[in-house]
């Protein structure tokens, strides 16, 4: 459908038409249901009672009669198609001693010719009452309806309701998001108070969505949630790591095992050729700036700003995926939205919680290298096969160094055990009107490096809620502050895993040993790199209820992140032959933002339907500023941290940007009898990132859902189906991750003054005409619940197409610039299937077992790229393939006579060259991934464990320009034992070569490193997390300890993979310069692999 219909040229208009059509369809249907007298019956000898029931179902009219009258009536045989009510009733009662009268919605059955009995006028009882939660706190906006009727209301701000005209036999239904539905029969009462319990049924649990809340049951969009329990089960430093493997469609890849390192987060694929594909993060309503603030990089690459958010302060994380859920965030929602809500205070006596854990970490995987004797044998073989003689300059390992020394470099460099401790204390409490929570957390982790370094973070979280006594006014405020210090080194030394195993580290006098241009990795440990981050997020929501159902609110937020870096390069870390002076680098970045979002929401009951309308506006400003200095000429290396001691200080960079953003947005949600749901959102955004005439854009979505399990014909036919929902959404979102001011024609300061004067250069070839990348998202999903929702199953299909790509339009360099930013009508499709299953396997008093699993099958495709063949991207992309393909040579094997690697000559020109012989090696995006979580409780014990799996391919350890040629002065992995050794050998490992001019060497150097031989499977299954808790409360209660537990937690326990390299997740690649275009950064093999962590903890409340 979408090919010809709504994806065509004027989608907005089409969407609107579609909306109007759907809206009308619903309204018409509602009317037909309410008043129609189109009755279809086919009954033979049916009881009158059962016929009446069917009429009620079809018309909404209810019958009122004395039981005896109807029970004694004759059986009915009737055949009618679209008959009207009067005719049907007459026909039913024709040979009975009965008559009828219609009073409003009620059909009164009476004896023929009898006067209307007094009870025939249903007593119009007025029922009122108060709805509270388990603690007795009034619940606002609880829907109270009369079952099987159109009557209903909502509770006011004191939790009170009143419904008039309720029959004695009616049943009241109380429902509210986050609570179990409650049904109470009237039984003639006029005061009915209800107490709702928090939903344990996950369908009715609250789900946080943009600017509001809903439940899984009523949601028209796709939202996945991770709650504090899952986050707390994991001893991780940042909240994003805690999401790995838990959310369908969310692929999170760590880039290094060093603390503070960045994560690559992709929600449903890569939507942009050149620009950011990061999701939008919103913490307590405030957009969080997730772009690293680095002025320069250290060993952990760029620092992840999320690392300064304490995961233990987080209450829940909701991941918004489809257009319905995200379009209200408009131009920044193309890559999905991640909403983080922090914890809030609980009503009741103040409770103090303590949570302390401590543990150890080590790298998940190492690679198996050749031993010294195997290595030396390979080296000798390489020289012999080349016909070259080793010399002291070309082969110190064979001629100079100790033949028996056997350094396990991995063990020396990254083989140490890191320690980890985190302690948290919090106090929470409150009364009916005011609640508070204050918590403080301290975390200290060291590294797997051989020296004492590491990461320290202190964080504080304060949350306040206050309501006026009449509950019309409510204010909440929260403040999150953290300060961290990350002490690591300047360069990741994992890359030295392949030094010759017999290379000496020290000279006899204890000084560092140096040979040629080979770095001594131990000397690198003297290059310090320290970062300090201060992060403040403050927000407040002020709400006022003008009349019940109508609220105005304002969301106010402020964030400030300050990031300082110091990197030192002292003399001792240099080879004395090339040392040209000690130096240091100092980086300072600061970014602050504010947001103001006034909103109004209105919720109204229209008969048996519910309409919610939200309108709001948003003003946001970010100011980023930073600079970076390099110093040299210090009086002493001890003073490298002190820039005042530098005799020469040069400002290498100064950056400043102001980003302003403004929007109006609206949403309307229509809910008819909790059966048909329609949701429409709209947002108009203005962003300063575009030229003056291109700043504004419109975005929007429509979502609809049909809870078919509420249809009687379904519930009758499929009694085992406790929940069934079909839903779909379509909409557009945008992406503006292109940086600030790119439209501005300006001059920038040059890096160095000239003759004492500062200079300017043209910053860019300005183009004021470019606009948003747009992403059109289509979603269809089916949600099923079986066996009273003990089994919940979801499947969704999405198809997202991002177009209007902002690319660097290439120019011929003669024009003065290589490119300028412009929109290209290239189109990228990300599509996939997501499956989620949640089951309650056993639920008994002392034993329960639940399982949840998710699976995402993803596909990424470049659909269109006009002019690709002539563009600079001609060799990078292929229409119909993923936008993250990697090209290289097709390895055809090792010549069994010469041992030289051979490759496919695609263009048959008898030479292997990049121009004609590149084939697609593979794709850096995964094919499918997911997780499997089990939770088991038995008496006081609770066990949770999560398996994460990823099916993907990628570069192996020998891929890329930095891979050492087999046979040169560098150790190799143990697979070299299978190398070609003599004519006739059939193997896939070429012969080693040590001489640059040799054919074997050239093949290894020029082709093999970039070929399919070193590209392989990087799939893995990982026991991501295990958490075992034991509740000690019953032992400790006597000590005035309310509750207490001990626990064991572990992260990344083991990995099953056939990956040839370090860690299939990081792929062992230095991603310090990772960009969208350079998925492997500078391709410098080896970063510290992901760590395995084991902790023991204690938790108690006073």
């Amino acid at each position: 459908m979408y090919r010809t219909g709504i994806f065509s040229s004027k989608p907005i208009v089409r969407i609107m038409k579609l909306t109007i059509f759907l809206l009308f369809a619903f309204l018409l249907k509602a009317e037909a249901k309410g008043f129609a007298q189109n009755i279809t019956l086919s009954e033979k000898n049916a009881s009158l009672e059962s016929v009446f029931k069917k009429i009620t179902r079809q018309t909404g009219y209810i019958f009122w009669y004395e039981n005896k009258l109807v029970r004694d009536a004759k059986k009915v045989t009737i055949e009618v198609r679209n008959g009207n009510l009067d005719d049907v009733l007459k026909s039913c009662l024709s040979n009975q001693e009965l008559d009828y009268a219609i009073v409003g919605n009620t059909i009164v059955i009476k004896e023929k010719n009898a006067p209307d009995p007094p009870i025939a006028r249903p007593p119009a009882v007025d029922v009122h009452g108060t709805v509270t939660d388990a603690s007795g706190k009034p619940l606002v906006a609880v829907s109270v309806t009369v079952k099987n009727s159109t009557k209903g209301t909502n509770t006011n701000d004191k939790g009170e309701y009143q419904i008039s005209g309720v029959n004695e036999t009616d049943v009241l239904v109380f429902s509210s998001i986050g609570y179990e539905n409650l049904e109470l029969p009237v039984n003639g009462r006029t005061v009915i108070n209800a107490q709702l319990t928090v939903a344990v049924n996950s369908l009715d649990e609250a789900v946080v969505i943009a600017y509001g809340k809903t439940s899984k049951r009523l949601n028209t969009g796709t939202v996945a949630s991770v709650t504090s329990q899952a986050i707390e089960d994991q001893p991780v430093a940042d909240p994003l790591s805690a999401l790995q493997g838990r959310v369908a469609g969310l692929n999170i890849v760590s880039t290094s095992g060093l603390p503070g390192s960045n994560l690559q987060v992709r929600l449903r694929g890569e939507n942009s050729l050149n620009n950011g594909s990061d999701p939008l993060y919103i913490i307590d309503g405030v957009p969080f700036i997730s772009t690293p603030l680095n002025q320069f990089n250290g060993a952990n690459g760029s620092q992840n700003p999320m690392a300064s958010i304490n995961p233990n302060d987080i209450d829940r994380i909701d991941v918004l995926k489809d257009a319905d859920a995200t379009a209200i965030y408009g131009s920044r929602a193309a890559n999905g939205v991640i909403l983080i809500s922090t914890k809030r205070g609980r009503t009741g006596k103040a409770v103090t919680d303590f949570n302390i854990y401590s543990g150890v970490s080590m790298v998940t995987r190492k690679v198996n290298m050749l031993s010294t004797s195997e290595y030396l044998a390979m080296r000798r073989e390489a020289f012999a096969a080349d016909g070259a003689a080793p010399t002291t300059t070309s082969a110190p390992d064979l001629l100079t160094w100790d033949q028996n020394a056997n350094n396990d470099w991995q063990d020396m460099l990254i083989g140490h055990t890191a320690n980890l401790t985190q302690a948290q204390a919090s106090i929470s409490g409150g009364n009916e009107t005011t609640r508070f929570l204050f918590s403080g957390t301290y975390r200290n982790e060291s590294t797997v490096l051989p020296i004492d370094l590491g990461y320290k973070r202190g964080s504080a979280h304060l949350s306040l809620d206050h309501s006026s006594v009449d509950r019309k006014f409510n204010i909440t405020a929260s403040i999150n502050y953290s300060a961290d210090k990350n002490d690591i080194i300047a360069t990741d030394i994992t890359q030295y895993y392949k030094l010759a195993p017999n290379m000496p580290v020290y000279n006899d006098d204890g000084s560092y040993y140096w040979f040629g241009s080979i770095q001594n990795p131990m000397a690198f440990l003297h290059r310090s790199y320290e970062t300090k981050t201060n992060n403040l997020i403050a927000n407040s929501v002020i709400r006022y209820t003008i009349v019940p159902g109508l609220n105005i609110r304002a969301n106010l937020g402020y964030t400030n992140t300050n990031f300082k870096q110091t990197l030192t390069l002292p003399e001792i870390s240099f080879n004395p032959d090339t040392y040209s002076g000690s130096s240091a680098q100092y980086g300072f970045s600061d970014v602050s933002s504010y947001i103001v979002e006034p909103q109004a929401d209105y919720s109204v009951k229209l008969g048996s339907s519910n309409l919610q309308v939200l309108a709001g506006a948003s003003w946001q400003q970010n100011i980023g500023e930073g600079h970076y200095l390099t110093g040299s000429g210090y009086s002493s290396d001890v003073l490298l941290q002190n820039m005042k001691d530098a005799s020469e200080l040069v400002v290498q960079n100064y950056n400043y940007s102001k980003y302003r953003y403004q929007s109006v947005f609206g949403r309307a949600t229509y809910n008819w009898r909790q059966k048909y749901l329609l949701n429409a959102t709209f947002r108009r955004d203005g962003s300063s990132r575009f030229g003056p005439d291109k700043r504004f854009g419109n975005f929007g979505s429509v979502g609809a859902a049909w809870i078919f399990s509420s249809e009687d014909f379904i519930s009758n036919a499929l009694p085992f189906l406790s929940f069934g929902k079909l839903r779909g959404s379509y909409g557009s979102t945008g992406n503006d991750q292109i940086g600030d001011y790119a439209y501005l024609d300006s001059w920038s300061s040059v890096n160095f003054p000239y003759g004492g004067s500062s200079g300017l250069y043209p910053t860019r070839l300005a183009n004021a005409e470019y606009s948003w990348e747009t992403n059109r998202k289509l979603e269809a999903a089916l949600e099923l619940g079986f066996l009273k929702n003990a089994i919940l199953f979801n499947v969704s299909y999405y198809n997202n197409r991002s177009g209007n790509q902002l690319i660097q339009y290439s120019l011929s360099p003669q024009s003065g610039f290589d490119s300028y930013i412009a929109n290209l009508p290239a189109k990228i499709e990300n599509s996939g299937w997501e499956f989620e299953v949640n089951t309650i396997n056993v639920k008994k008093k002392n034993f329960s077992w639940t399982t949840s699993a998710n699976l995402s099958i993803v596909s990424n495709k470049l659909l269109e790229y006009p002019g690709l063949a002539e563009s600079v991207d001609a060799s990078r992309y292929v229409i119909g393939k993923s936008i993250r393909i990697i090209k290289g040579y097709q390895f055809t094997g090792v010549n069994s006579q010469t041992g030289v690697a051979e490759f496919l000559d695609v263009d048959k020109d008898n030479a292997i060259s990049e121009d004609g012989d590149f084939v697609i090696l593979g794709n850096t995006l995964p094919r499918y991934y997911g997780g499997l979580q089990n939770s088991i409780t038995y008496k006081g014990w609770q066990l949770d464990f999560l398996f994460q799996f990823v099916k993907q391919e990628g570069p192996t350890i020998d891929y890329g320009a930095q891979a050492a040629i087999y046979g040169t002065l560098a150790n190799q992995t143990a697979k070299l034992e299978d190398r070609w050794k003599q004519p006739g050998d059939i193997t896939t490992v070429p012969r080693p070569s040590a001489t640059a001019s040799n054919a074997a060497y050239l093949a290894l150097n020029n082709q093999y490193r970039y070929s399919s031989a070193v590209w392989g499977d990087a799939s893995f299954i990982r026991l991501k997390n295990i958490s075992l808790k034991y509740d000690l409360s019953r032992f400790t209660r006597s000590w005035k300890i309310q509750s207490s537990s001990v626990y064991f937690q572990a992260q990344n326990l083991f990995t099953i993979t056939s990956y040839d390299g370090f860690d299939p997740e990081t792929k062992g690649f230095d991603r310090t310069t990772v960009s969208e275009v350079l998925p492997f950064g500078t391709i410098r093999p080896a970063v510290v692999p992901t760590l395995s962590t084991f902790t023991l903890g204690l938790k108690f409340s006073l």
Binding site: V664, P762, Q814, A874
Partner: protein
């Protein structure tokens, strides 16, 4: 209730929309100067000009420091590098995807955009003082001519781009070399008028009138306008600001009285001790006993007459194993603070050689020899025989240019090409390094592949298809 809704919501939306446009109008960033402000004052307009020189010399392996001097020297018979990445120059086996060739093409063109932007901005400005305006227009024209001079000599016909309409310029085809020279000469004539006699400060790091005359004299020489070349060279030689220095070790100092135009050191932190010139940084051995990675071809070493002070002062020997090699040593400082040397672009000695050649071409042999003798005298060599024939004088000019201007700005490579001597001189020498290394078509560098990929109208030079 309905009324409240009816009034509040539209008001809310309206207020948002009304203030929309203004709110997202951000002021220009503090780290950038909007183009319209750049040419409003003398100071900022001047900053746009010095920004060019700073960018030209900020980083190693740029056109204006290392590449313009090293690459043609390797293509010719001056020196080569121990790094195999430069072998394609040494063996004249360049391919269109050579990254250095790409830089030699794209960098001058990016600088041309920069000077075109200055030219347009300054010409359109009403608020600059006349003196600054004239100087900047002249400087922009001088630099544009300068870049085209090198482009046309590396690549032959090149697109002639004289404005900032980059989208249009991106697809322009190559302009015949003669027309490019016309533009060069036209720009330089204007620059001679517009530039001032004096330098802009105590150093010679921005072009003045004499610099324009020098380059114009060179352009006349290359286009066979002998008498014009002679006249202009004479004007600069007669200018008492400039003199040949008797001490060869002072020629390349930043205080040199022989220098006509130098590019100042800017990136003085790299290497921590303070950089002088990138040429020195690359060539000069790290320690007195260590090696250089640049090696003068024996042909050049043998070209020095015995007793030539230039051999003694401007080359340096070093030993690797049992072999002795020589590297250029005009720039003698690798690191060392404070900065004492500047990259020297134009210097007086060249004008004597231009005038000598122009005079010889016009058969004014006596005074041609006089000019050559000035240079030879400074180098500690005897005067030439007064009775040389025209051919012999021209040969003496070639020889003198070779040993005087070696390793500077591609003089030797251009001389061999413009005098049609490349085949005769380079074929035997390069083929001794590698069989069939030399082709006549090697005198032009290939048009870079990237440039051709992005502009289908660019034809390739012969020999590279």
């Amino acid at each position: 209730m309905k009324h409240t809704l009816r009034y509040i919501l539209p008001l809310l939306l309206l207020s948002a929309i009304v203030s929309c446009k203004k709110y997202v109008d951000v002021p220009p960033p503090q780290d950038q100067l909007p183009a319209e402000a750049a040419f409003t004052t003398d100071k900022t307009a001047t900053a746009t000009m010095v920004g060019l020189y700073s960018n030209m010399n900020g980083y190693n392996y740029s056109f204006a420091n290392v590449l313009a001097s090293f690459m043609p020297a390797m293509s010719a018979d001056e020196f080569y590098s121990a790094f195999t990445s430069f072998d394609a120059f040494k063996l004249n086996s360049l391919t269109p995807d050579n990254s250095y060739v790409n830089t030699l093409w794209s960098q001058p063109y990016s600088y041309i955009y920069h000077v075109n932007a200055i030219y347009e901005g300054v010409a359109a400005s009403n608020s600059l003082s006349p003196a600054v305006k004239s100087q900047l227009l002249g400087e922009a024209r001088f630099m544009r001519a300068f870049f085209y001079f090198y482009l046309v000599n590396y690549f032959g016909d090149v697109p002639l781009i004289l404005d900032t309409d980059a989208r249009k310029n991106s697809s322009l085809p190559r302009t015949p070399a003669a027309q490019v020279y016309e533009s060069i000469i036209n720009d330089l004539k204007e620059a001679v008028d517009e530039l001032q006699d004096d330098y802009q400060n105590s150093e010679r790091i921005r072009p003045n009138k004499a610099a324009a005359k020098t380059l114009l004299a060179r352009a006349y020489l290359y286009t066979g306008k002998w008498s014009d070349a002679e006249t202009l060279a004479g004007e600069v030689i007669g200018d008492n600001h400039y003199q040949l220095l008797t001490n060869l070790n002072s020629v390349f100092l930043k205080t040199s009285q022989e220098a006509i135009f130098q590019i100042a050191a800017v990136n003085t932190v790299t290497g921590a001790g303070g950089m002088n010139t990138w040429e020195g940084f690359n060539i000069v051995p790290a320690t007195p006993t260590s090696r250089s990675y640049y090696i003068i071809f024996p042909e050049l070493m043998n070209a020095f007459e015995s007793g030539d002070l230039r051999k003694a002062n401007w080359t340096k020997s070093y030993v690797v194993g049992t072999n002795t090699y020589y590297c250029p040593f005009k720039y003698q400082n690798r690191l060392i603070s404070p900065v004492v040397e500047y990259t020297t672009v134009l210097r007086l000695a060249e004008l004597y050689l231009i005038r000598a050649e122009a005079r010889a071409k016009q058969n004014k042999l006596d005074i041609a020899i006089d000019d050559l003798d000035e240079i030879r005298h400074r180098a500690g060599l005897d005067p030439l025989d007064d009775n040389l024939t025209q051919d012999q004088v021209l040969q003496a000019v070639e020889q003198e240019r070779r040993v005087e201007l070696f390793s500077e700005w591609g003089h030797r490579w251009f001389d061999l090409k413009r005098t049609n001597r490349a085949d005769a001189v380079l074929a035997p020498m390069k083929e001794a390094l590698q069989p069939s290394a030399w082709q006549s078509t090697d005198t032009l560098y290939p048009i870079p592949a990237q440039a051709r990929r992005t502009n289908v109208n660019l034809t390739q030079n012969n020999g590279y298809n």
